[in-house]
Amino acid sequence: MPDAQYANTQLSDPAKEAKARELMLTLRCLVCQGQSIADSDADMAGDMRALVRRKIEAGESPDQVRSWLIERYGDWVTYDPSFNSRTAVLWIAPVLFIVLGLFLARGRFRKKAK
């Protein structure tokens, strides 16, 4: 089978290709699990690249393409998870840990000041 159109062919507009490429790096290949579709040689990753390029070529924004895929596959498909009730812990936890760390370290700072 020949590759899908745009699976391994760049878009003619470099600005659109750059957008598509950036998006492809943050989308997870569905069958290889752990590779982005930009990195994978799987047939399905090729078809997903073709889909991304086709949609970008048609004038859709990367965010629109990403939400189209999330609508079908859930947050699993993106390496750049959106902020929602299920991912809130993921985004907030680092801030909480910094605050906690500062709190734990406060005694040391106080001693130095004395």
């Binding site: 089978m1 569905l30 078809d47 997903m48 609508e71 079908r72 596959y73 734990l104």
Partner: protein, 175 residues
């Protein structure tokens, strides 16, 4: 209180260690369920994959009767395993349509000659376009589409004999 803060970092470390270790020992399930279950079948129209059998479009669905939509390919080995089960379901009167993924007509014809053809219609999806719009991530996968054209059920992987009752129940519920 002081004792608590002394042990707190170790407790935190053990918690992290536990989370990471459990993730390593028991990898999370790798089947990705489609979020399209419960939503309307996307509009599509695919050319015939096995002439003179007709191609497949979304207009075939939602005509009052539930139908089974099987995503398969001649190059897919579990599809061979589920073929006799699909044949049996077709003989029982289940309306089955197929979408052949990334397939060549000659390969598909050989596959159907060898494994039987339970399909009313087969559409050719050469670049997985329709498969991706269904939220399907591999072959074989089988969807139950109800009489109104809503996706009601998704089965991931080949249909084994023990899966048939559940699929038949989903078909019955989709009437």
């Amino acid at each position: 209180m002081k004792r608590f803060w002394l042990w707190f970092p170790l407790g935190l470390f053990l918690l992290f260690f536990g989370v990471v270790a459990s993730g390593l020992i028991k990898p999370s399930s790798t089947t990705i369920k489609s979020r399209m279950v419960g939503k309307a079948l996307p509009t599509f129209s695919l050319p015939a994959a096995n002439e003179p059998q007709p191609g497949l479009g979304s207009a075939t669905f939602g005509q009052g009767q539930p139908r089974l939509l099987n995503i398969f390919a001649s190059w897919c080995i579990p599809c061979v395993a589920e073929a006799p089960i699909l044949m049996k379901m077709a003989q029982q009167g289940v309306q089955i349509d197929g979408i052949a993924i990334r397939d060549r007509p000659q390969d598909l014809a050989r596959f159907l000659a060898r494994n039987g053809n339970p399909y009313k219609r087969i559409g050719s999806d050469i670049d997985s376009r329709v498969q991706l719009s269904l939220g399907s991530s591999g072959v074989p996968e089988t969807f139950v589409i109800d009489g109104k054209g809503i996706i009601r059920y998704q089965h991931i992987g080949d249909i084994r004999p023990e899966d048939v009752p559940e699929i038949m129940a989903a078909l019955k519920a989709a009437r």
